[in-house]
C-alpha cells in the first residue's frame, strides 16, 4: 500500500524558486559575482591551510617590500605577508557581513511580519518604535555600545545587526500588508490555521523575494560599515586583521608603500561589486512581474 502512495513517481513542478534560479543562471554578471564570492569565501575559510605565512608572523628584517615571488602582494612594515593578512582579514569581514545580516534578517523579518499581519494599534506602536530607532544617529549608537561593553567581535555583529534590521522590518511589513489582502490568506484563516502558522507558511515565504534582494545589498553595506568602524579604530584591533583595518593601515603608509592600500582596497571594491551584481541579478530573477504570468 505504501508502495503506491509515494509522490516521488509524479513529475515535479517548477516552483517559483526553481524558476528564479533558471533565470538567474542566464545572467552572466550575477553568476560571475556569485562564483567570485564562493571562491573568495572558500579561500578565506581555508586560509590557514593555504598560506605559508601566519597573519601575525613578522619578519622585521624584511620590512615593507613590494609584490614578489615569496610575497605575492608584498609585506607590510613589520614584514607580515599581505596576502595572508588579506585572507585572514576576509574571514572577519565576510563573517561580519553574513552574521550581522543574518541577525538583521531574523529580527527584521519576524518583527515586520508580525506588525504587518496583526495591523491596527500593534502595528502602529511597533512601527513608531522603528521610526524612533531610525532617528537615532546609528553611528553614535554603535560607538556607545562599543564603549560601554568593550570591543569584541560578537558585540560588533550584534550592534550592526541591531541597526540594520529596521529597513528589513519595513520592507517585510509592506509585503505582508499586501499579501494579507490576498484571498489565500483569508482561506488560511477560514481553515482555522493559527496566526503563527499563517505567518510562517503563507506570509513569510511569499515576502522573501524582496528580502533576499535587500539582503545581498545589506551585506556590502555592513562590510563597509565594519571597515569604517575599524578604520576609526573601533572595530577589530591589530594584530587581528580585517579589510577595514588593512585599509586604515594602508592609508597611513599610502605614500611610501602604496600596495598596502591598493590590494585590500581593490579586493573590498571587487567584493562589493560582486555582491551588488548578484543582488541586481536576483532582483530581476525574483521579480514576479517579469515572470510568466
Amino acid at each position: 500500500m505504501s508502495q503506491s502512495l509515494t509522490l516521488e513517481k509524479y513529475e515535479k513542478g517548477t516552483s517559483l524558486w526553481t524558476d528564479a534560479w533558471v533565470r538567474l543562471k542566464k545572467n552572466h554578471l550575477a553568476i560571475t559575482g556569485l562564483v567570485f564570492l564562493i571562491v573568495l569565501a572558500l579561500l578565506c575559510l581555508f586560509a590557514p591551510l593555504l598560506t605559508p605565512y601566519g597573519y601575525e608572523e613578522q619578519n622585521i628584517a624584511l620590512g615593507a617590500s613590494g609584490p614578489s615571488l615569496q610575497h605575492w602582494l608584498g609585506t607590510d612594515t613589520f614584514g607580515r605577508d599581505l596576502l595572508s593578512r588579506i585572507l585572514y582579514g576576509g574571514r572577519v569581514s565576510l563573517a561580519v557581513g553574513l552574521v550581522a545580516t543574518a541577525v538583521s534578517l531574523i529580527i527584521g523579518v519576524t518583527y515586520g511580519a508580525i506588525a504587518g499581519y496583526v495591523g491596527g494599534r500593534v502595528d502602529a506602536v511597533m512601527m513608531r518604535f522603528v521610526d524612533i530607532v531610525y532617528a537615532l544617529p546609528f553611528m553614535i549608537f554603535v560607538v556607545l555600545l562599543m564603549v560601554v561593553f568593550g570591543r569584541n567581535l560578537i558585540l560588533l555583529f550584534l550592534a550592526i545587526g541591531a541597526v540594520e534590521w529596521l529597513t528589513m522590518a519595513r520592507i517585510v511589513r509592506g509585503q505582508v500588508q499586501t499579501l494579507r489582502q490576498q484571498e489565500f490568506v483569508e482561506a488560511a484563516i477560514a481553515m482555522g490555521l493559527s496566526n503563527w502558522t499563517i505567518i510562517r507558511k503563507h506570509l513569510i515565504p511569499n515576502s522573501l523575494g524582496p528580502v533576499i534582494v535587500y539582503t545581498t545589498l545589506t551585506i556590502p553595506s555592513v562590510m563597509l560599515f565594519e571597515a569604517f568602524l575599524s578604520f576609526l579604530g573601533l572595530g577589530i584591533q591589530p594584530p587581528q586583521s580585517s579589510w577595514g583595518v588593512l585599509i586604515s593601515y594602508g592609508v597611513e603608509t599610502m605614500e611610501e608603500y602604496p600596495w598596502l592600500l591598493i590590494f585590500p582596497g581593490l579586493l573590498l571594491s571587487i567584493t562589493l561589486f560582486a555582491l551588488n551584481f548578484l543582488g541586481d541579478g536576483l532582483r530581476d530573477a525574483l521579480d514576479v512581474r517579469s515572470s510568466k504570468d
Binding site: 500500500m1 513529475e11 515535479k12 484571498e183 483569508e186 484563516i189 482555522g192 515565504p205 510568466k292
Partner: protein, 527 residues
C-alpha cells in the same frame, strides 16, 4: 469597400519561453454603420488582434508577422508611428474595460475631455467646453454642466464608462473599438451602456468593433460575429445565423455553456435549519471621517441543511461582506449567526477554530486564493493535517481522494499553482474547501473570473460535490443566469439590505420588489 479591412493578420509574441502565436491568419472587415463582434475566451487573441492594428501592443516581445489592415486606403500595419497616433486620435477610438484606470484621477472630467479639442483642434476653451457639455448630454450624463467639473472618483462605474465613451466620440471617429466595455459593470448599468452604444452608432453611422466574451451581450447588439479560438477565427457569420445554427464545434460548445433556464437537479433541502442569521449588521468606518457605513444592514435569513441558497446583488450591495460576516472573517457589529443552534457570531479567533472545519469558503479569484509557493499537495494537505491526520500515507491517500473528487489528475500533485489554468486553479481551491469535510460552504462568486465553458464545468462540479458530500451552500453571485441554474432559493440584496427572498423559479416568475424586477429585466433583455 469596407471601412476597415483586415487581411491575413498574424501577431506573434517572442518570449523567453518560446513563440506564442497570439493571432494567426485572421481576416475581418467592418462597414460603416455596422457592428462586428469578436467573441472568444480569454487568451483567444481577440484583444491582441485589435490592439495590434493601432500599434498598442508592446513590441517587442510582440511582432506583426504578416497581414494588411486597410483603413481609408492606408495600411495601418505599415503606417509610421506619427500616422498611427493621428489615426488613433481622430479616426479610430477605443473604449476600454476598466473605466477607472483610463481616467486621470487628478483631472476633472471636463478638463480631460477638453484637452484634445483645445490642443489638436485649436478650439477656444469656451467653445470646447460647450462642445464637451453637448457630448456629455449625448452620452446620457445628467446635469452635464455641473458634472463638467466633477472628478473621476465622484462618478460611478457606469458614469465613468459614459465619460470614456464621450471621450472616444469627441474627435468624431469613424470606427469605435470597444474592448469588453461592460464587463466591469453591474447588470443594470450594463444594459444602459449597451443601449447607449447602439443608439450612438445608429445616430452617427459609425463602425463598431465589439470585443467580448459574453455571448448574450453580443447577440443583443452585433450585426456580424467572428468567433476566435486560440488565435484563429473558427467561425464567422451574421448574428442570426451564428446563434441559430452554429457550425463549428467550438461555437456550439460556447453556446451550450451559457447558463440558461431553471435548475435541473432536485432540491436537497431538508427541514432542519443549519445556519440561522438574525439581524446581522456589519459596518465599516470611513478612514477620514470615521463615519460608520453599514455594509450589511440587519440581514436575517435561514439556510436549510442540504440547500443551495443564492445571494444576488450588484457590486457594493454587501453580499460578500455578509458571506464573510457569517464565517466571522469580518467582524459584525450586532445580530446573531447560529450554526446548528450554536451562537458563533462574536466568537474570538480561538473560540471559532473548532467550527472552522465545518464551514469553508470558496473565493472568486483563483489567482490570488492559492499560495503561489505551495504545491498542490501542500495546499491540500494543510487542512488535512489540521484535522489531525498524522501519517504521511494517510495524508497522501486523502489528498489523492480529493484530487479525484474535483477532477484533477493525480500526476499534478507536485505542481505549483502558476502551472495551472484558471479553471484548474479553481478546482484546487474547491478541493481545499471540501478537504475538511465541511457541512456548509460560502461560495463567493466562484465562477465569475472564469470563461464560460470553464464556468459550466465548475458549476457542474459544485453541484456534484454538494450531492456527494451532503453540503449546504450559500452561493454569492451577481450573475442571475448562473444563480438560477444552481440555486434552490434566492436572496436579493441591495445597499446592505435583503430585499426579497423566495424559491428561485417563483421569484423569477413573479418578483415582488421593484429592485428585483429591474435586476431581472436587465438580465432578460440580454438573453
Amino acid at each position: 469597400m469596407s471601412l476597415l479591412d483586415v487581411n491575413d493578420l498574424s501577431v506573434y509574441f517572442h518570449t523567453r519561453d518560446g513563440v506564442i502565436k497570439a493571432v494567426e491568419n485572421v481576416s475581418f472587415s467592418v462597414d460603416q454603420g455596422e457592428t462586428l463582434a469578436i467573441v472568444g475566451e480569454s487568451g483567444s487573441g481577440k484583444s491582441v488582434a485589435c490592439y495590434s492594428l493601432l500599434g498598442l501592443i508592446p513590441m517587442p516581445p510582440g511582432k506583426i508577422e504578416s497581414g494588411t489592415a486597410m483603413f481609408e486606403n492606408d495600411d495601418l500595419l505599415k503606417a509610421s508611428t506619427d500616422k498611427l497616433r493621428a489615426v488613433r486620435g481622430d479616426d479610430i477610438c477605443m473604449v476600454f474595460q476598466d473605466p477607472m484606470t483610463c481616467l486621470n484621477p487628478y483631472m476633472t472630467i471636463g478638463k480631460q475631455l477638453i484637452e484634445p479639442l483645445v490642443y489638436k483642434r485649436c478650439y477656444t476653451k469656451e467653445k470646447a467646453k460647450e462642445r464637451v457639455i453637448e457630448l456629455l448630454q449625448e452620452v446620457g450624463i445628467r446635469n452635464p454642466a455641473s458634472n463638467f467639473d466633477a472628478w473621476p472618483h465622484e462618478f460611478s462605474g457606469g458614469m465613468r464608462q459614459r465619460a470614456m465613451i464621450a471621450m472616444a466620440l469627441i474627435s468624431e471617429p469613424k470606427l469605435l473599438i470597444a474592448d469588453e466595455p461592460t464587463t466591469a459593470l453591474d447588470v443594470t448599468i450594463q444594459k444602459q451602456i449597451l443601449e447607449l452604444v447602439v443608439n450612438l452608432q445608429k445616430r452617427r453611422n459609425i463602425g463598431v468593433i465589439f470585443i467580448s466574451h459574453d455571448l448574450a451581450v453580443v447577440r443583443s447588439l452585433a450585426d456580424q460575429v467572428v468567433v476566435m479560438e486560440s488565435g484563429q477565427i473558427v467561425e464567422r457569420g451574421t448574428t442570426e445565423a451564428l446563434f441559430n445554427a452554429p457550425q463549428h464545434p467550438y461555437t456550439q460548445k460556447l453556446l451550450a455553456a451559457i447558463p440558461s433556464g431553471a435548475k435541473n437537479v432536485e432540491s436537497r433541502a431538508e427541514e432542519k435549519t443549519l445556519v440561522e442569521v438574525t439581524g446581522l449588521t456589519t459596518s465599516f468606518y470611513d478612514r477620514s471621517t470615521h463615519q460608520p457605513f453599514k455594509a450589511v444592514d440587519s440581514a436575517s435569513f435561514a439556510l436549510k441543511k442540504g440547500e443551495i441558497l443564492g445571494l444576488v446583488g450588484e457590486s457594493g450591495s454587501g453580499k460578500s461582506t455578509l458571506g464573510r460576516s457569517i464565517l466571522n472573517l469580518v467582524q459584525s457589529e450586532s445580530g446573531s449567526v447560529k450554526y446548528r443552534g450554536q451562537e458563533i457570531s462574536g466568537l474570538s479567533a480561538k473560540q471559532m477554530r473548532p467550527y472552522r472545519k465545518h464551514m469553508q469558503m470558496i473565493f472568486q479569484d483563483p489567482y490570488s486564493s492559492l499560495n503561489p509557493r505551495m504545491t498542490i499537495f501542500d495546499t491540500l494537505a494543510e487542512p488535512l493535517k489540521l484535522q489531525g491526520l498524522k501519517s504521511r500515507t494517510e495524508i497522501i491517500d486523502a489528498v489523492f481522494e480529493i484530487m479525484d473528487d474535483v477532477g484533477l489528475k493525480r500526476s499534478y500533485v507536485r505542481k505549483y499553482p502558476h502551472e495551472f489554468s484558471g479553471g484548474q486553479r479553481q478546482r484546487i481551491a474547491i478541493g481545499r474547501a471540501v478537504a475538511t469535510k465541511p457541512e456548509f460552504i460560502v461560495a463567493d462568486e466562484p465562477v465569475s473570473a472564469l470563461d464560460v465553458t470553464i464556468q459550466k464545468q465548475i458549476l457542474d462540479l459544485l453541484l456534484e460535490l454538494v450531492e456527494k458530500h451532503d453540503l449546504s451552500m450559500l452561493f454569492i453571485s451577481h450573475d442571475l443566469a448562473v444563480v438560477r441554474a444552481v440555486c434552490d432559493r434566492v436572496l436579493v440584496m441591495n445597499a446592505g439590505r435583503i430585499l426579497e427572498e423566495g424559491e428561485t423559479e417563483a421569484l423569477w416568475a413573479s418578483p415582488k420588489d421593484a429592485y428585483t424586477k429591474t435586476l431581472l429585466s436587465a438580465s432578460h433583455v440580454l438573453v
